[in-house]
Amino acid sequence: MSDNINTQESPPEVQFAGVNRWLRENLFSSTGSSILTFLSIGVIIGLFRSIIGFFISPEREWTAITYNLRLYMVQAYPESDFIRVWITIGVVMGLLGLTWGFNSISEKVSLKSTSTSLMKLFSSLFLLVLIAPSSVVVDKVEGTQVEVFQQSLRLYLLGIFGILLLLSYLVRTKLSNQEASKDYLNLFYVGLLVVTLWIIKVPTVTFDSSNVRLDPDPLMPLATSTKTPWTYLYVLLIATFFIGKYLNSKNVSVVKRVLPVSWLLTPLVVVTWIYRKPDFTLTQIATLDLPVILGFSVVGYLVINYLNSEKLMQYQRYFIYGSLLISVIVFTLPVLGQLKLLFFLLWILISVAPTVANSKESARSLFIVWTVAIAILILLMRGGSSESLIVVPGSSIYGGFALTWVLAFFGIAISFPFGVMLALGRTSTFPIIRIICTALIELVRSVPFITWLFFGSVMLTFFLPSGVEFDEVVRAVVVTSIFSAAYLAENVRGGLQSISKGQFEAADAVGLSTLQRISLIVMPQALRAVIPPIVSQVISLFKDTSLVAIVGLFDLLYIGSKVIPNQSQGANFLGTIQENILFCAIFYWLFTYSFARRSMKIEKRLGLGER
């Protein structure tokens, strides 16, 4: 009965029933809903008209932003050292391109979906231009109207968006079966952004030779001084993308290990070396750094190779407690900051070495990791603790968006592992660890963030041994990351509780060690269960960085709300607070919304296994 086998029918094709029917079913299904539809359309149009009117009103001094973009980005960072910033961005771009190219899975997207989203974009722009008011009321008392949007300009813009809309519609209907490489499409989008830097012109404040402001403000490209570097960086991105792709095709497996390590090191190198001019003298390195590196690598070698021997294994707990005690003692002694950290790391090594280094091979690789880590750490700390030779007015060389970014990046990067460790500690079966972690989480959570910021800036010095002092930004980073780690720990703990007991038992039954069970089975599942709360926490951390203004740091929002509206020298921007706050809001929104979009995609991809 061979024809019985294939009795399966294909599902009926869903067809778009037509605009009329969609409208009738969704918007005008009854008299009530028709009224509601008309009402809400009216409200939406009115709202958008007033918002657009606000933006294009001649009263708005948008030059306050275009003129101050540099202030917004890097605050008082001296122009002569800008090359350091560009190198930083260049390094990140290069790594990004390499990683992207190397991990590219050559995904294809159908032109249909791309053109659909383009159609959405262009039609919304079209509508916005259509409903924009042509004149706005300037003086509320007298009601004078000023024309702000010429009819010819409106027609011109409508024409452009109409043509673009038509083009994307044509692509959608004629080429709907075609596919495009997602990578190239994304590179193209980034390229478009770079091109807009050159094309789009905005009014900017300029002065003539006798320092008098020119009137009217001439139109200049959006990024006058930065468009060339951005173009170079874009070329770099493309170049490294193809290098990464090439390396992947040649199956160079070293890259796989080098890339994550470089990503880890880059921010540290950037902060300690590029934004500073550390003092590297040979005598210092020879008399201080080299002996310390050598000493600790020898100790590490002994620990890794002999601690797991039969004889010493039984005393392991004494070694752990002993080294913890030593590191605590060293912490209170007036010695170099490097040593304090190193002894703490040694304690961790002693605790994990016998379990991790159970074969000759793994012992060797652990030893290499240990030595390299120590050497890098020492060099980084040499850079970090050296006096910065970049001269900046004010307390910190970080300001503006650079500060916001440094705080957010390091806040997240530090709080993530710390929070995961706190969560594990709180669910641990060791009472001491559990109590410490619980106490820390509860203490941190129950005091307001601003209080902790004050604590970090004013009181921390009392608690640290004399001679140890941190930069204001470092203190803010520490406070931010600890605060966010406490919240993150609770989120992660929620994820841990969602893992069934069976998973633990299955992991035990196949013989995984505790560390392997946590890192291979429990954490991956727990973390993907709590992606939404973690993302909202990342977003709130990003926004909360604006609170550091309270301890005297000049972040993006502070510059927008206090600094620029008080500028009266040169260009006069007194009272331009509305424009600046709006700009800051849009700026924050761009970043946080792209986090959110990114996380939605990650969630979708990770959700694959959980059907």
Binding site: S359, E505, A506, A507, A509, G511, L520, R528, E610, R611
Partner: protein
Amino acid sequence: MSIIQSIDVKKWYGDFQALKGITMDIGEGEVLVICGPSGSGKSTFIRCINRLEQHQDGQIIVDGIELTNDLKNIEAIRSEVGMVFQSFNLFPHLTVLQNITLAPIWVRKKSKADAEEKAMELLERVGIPEQAEKFPGQLSGGQQQRVAIARALAMEPKIMLFDEPTSALDPEMIKEVLDVMKELAQSGMTMIVVTHEMGFAKEVADRVMLFDEGQLVEENTPDEFFNNPKSDRTKLFLSQIL
């Protein structure tokens, strides 16, 4: 030669005594079926054998190693003893292939290629090589349980423990899992199976045991157990389930 020795094993949950002194010897290559009403301690007992539960009194010696709190012993024994659970407990975030190769790679330190080759062999053996790249959530219950068996076998254990492997399955899927288990028994694996599948016990088991209220009530060959049981408790049990 006995591969598992259990001497007067006792276990309490709070005040409730789950095991009241279990003594038995299991020989190499033997297939032992344990049955009994729920709450009789049969699952608890086999979970003590790879120390998912800790016994509080008595001795369990697996392959010459006594189970104590020593972490090294526990890990050594766990890699010798495979376990299959009632609720499969596959790792949902890993593919079928990754589920099977995880422990060989991380515990046995095998290379990825070797582990995958072995895993594909095992998937052939349990009859679902075409599902290797799928996630557990995309498989049927019977397929999941067969993957779980393959996962346990990948560690090349000497002993396999089955904790009610078919209780969570549809009747049609029970057969496919039992077939795999029969094939395994015939290949000479030492197996302890907690199950209510009396057909399996009759056909495959070397010995059948009945647990009741934490005690070993009856221990017999399958023939004697089903046709000529010694204790009244066994008669009652058989009359209720057959």
